[in-house]
């Protein structure tokens, strides 16, 4: 359990370092993700500890969004004055963004 967390944190740290000094355009955690992916691919399997910690984190991803999302209270006046635009943009866009890939896959995918 702890060793899985340590490994993931090490990749996060490596990602932050690379982002800071070499690739400022890409956020550190994304580079960490790619590095961990490369490590898993090289090992050809997911170490059990990493799997356990990784699965737990991903399973409760929703919780981790909460502190940032509560920031909505800061923008309430601005959101209210742009209410219709924001609501329509978010709802229509998410419907289209679900529908388009689903349609593309239905058309392009052939049964195996």
């Amino acid at each position: 359990m702890i060793s899985g967390l340590v490994q993931i944190l090490l990749f996060q740290g490596a990602g932050e370092l690379v982002s800071n000094f070499l690739l400022p355009l890409i956020p550190g955690p994304v580079i960490g993700l790619v590095l961990l992916l490369a490590y898993l691919a090289a090992r050809r399997r997911v170490p059990e500890d990493v799997d356990r910690v990784g699965s737990a984190l991903v399973q409760h991803l929703g919780l981790l969004f909460v502190p940032a999302a509560v920031g909505v209270v800061l923008f309430l006046p601005q959101l209210r004055s742009n209410g219709l635009a924001v609501a329509l943009a978010l709802v229509v866009s998410v419907v289209l963004t679900i529908a388009v890939p689903a349609l593309v896959l239905r058309v392009l995918a052939r049964p195996r």
Binding site: Q12, P29, A41, S55, Q59, L64, L88, A89, T97, V104
Partner: protein, 238 residues
């Protein structure tokens, strides 16, 4: 004699209160979701955020103070992003023979997401801050916030839009996917992951393991692609 006021002053000065509030509200959110038989409309994150926003407004706790305690939870978002490598790696085998359709679907979905959101908001006269924060909203929140910082947009507002998109996608996906006649779990999951990242992925996992794997794959690929392409596209557009 210790008064309630003293206890309150002590508690609100430590990160503990915000942490208990965050985890406790989430527990209630998940409980409500389970009670509602995992109905997509009873989205646990929406319930949690609403509970906390109402609570801190009622007790007069400024957001900055709340975040100071809740940042320990927030910090793990970066760690969880790295950990996405695990579901992506597990999903890579499933990619075989489907690489081209999945990539076409991802690129189309990402482009449609930005064009439709920014287009509609601009047509309806939303201001520049709002428009900018819509760019990265279909990318998972930690990456979206990183992208927003890099293009000079408010990371908090971007996160709010990203989470709203995640919640809306998780709530509406079943109806949209049924309407367009999508049947295979892997296709339904992938479409949901492209549109509504982490929250969509949790939703997909709670319905089907296969859908969850593909949703995680879509979220990860969209995150990586978005981190590179959105800042470039934003600079070209502005």
């Amino acid at each position: 004699m210790i008064t309630i006021h003293e206890i309150w002053v002590y508690l609100s000065g430590s990160p503990l209160l915000a942490l208990i509030l965050t985890l406790g509200a989430y527990q209630l959110g998940v409980l409500a979701y389970e009670r509602a038989a995992r109905n997509p409309l009873a989205n646990p994150v929406l319930i949690t955020v609403t509970l906390i926003a109402v609570t801190i407004t009622l007790i007069g706790m400024p957001y900055a103070e709340y975040f100071e305690g809740a940042q320990f939870v927030h910090f793990l978002l970066g760690t969880a992003t790295v950990a996405l490598a695990v579901p992506i790696y597990n999903g890579l085998g499933a990619l075989r023979g489907r690489v081209v359709p999945l990539f076409v679907a991802l690129v189309c979905g990402g482009a449609v997401s930005i064009a439709s959101a920014v287009g509609i908001a601009a047509l309806l006269g939303a201001d520049g801050t709002i428009l900018g924060a819509l760019w990265a909203k279909s990318v998972t929140a930690p990456i979206a916030m990183g992208v927003a910082e890099r293009i000079g947009i408010s990371p908090t507002l971007t996160a709010v839009f990203a989470v709203s998109t995640g919640i809306l996608g998780a709530m509406l996906a079943r109806f949209v996917l049924d309407a367009v006649g999508s049947k295979a779990w892997w296709q339904r999951g992938f479409a949901l992951g492209v549109a509504s990242h982490g929250i969509g992925t949790s939703r997909a996992f709670s319905v089907s393991e296969e859908a969850g794997t593909y949703a995680g794959l879509a979220m990860g690929l969209h995150g990586i692609a978005g981190a590179v392409l959105i800042p470039l596209a934003f600079r070209m557009a502005s």
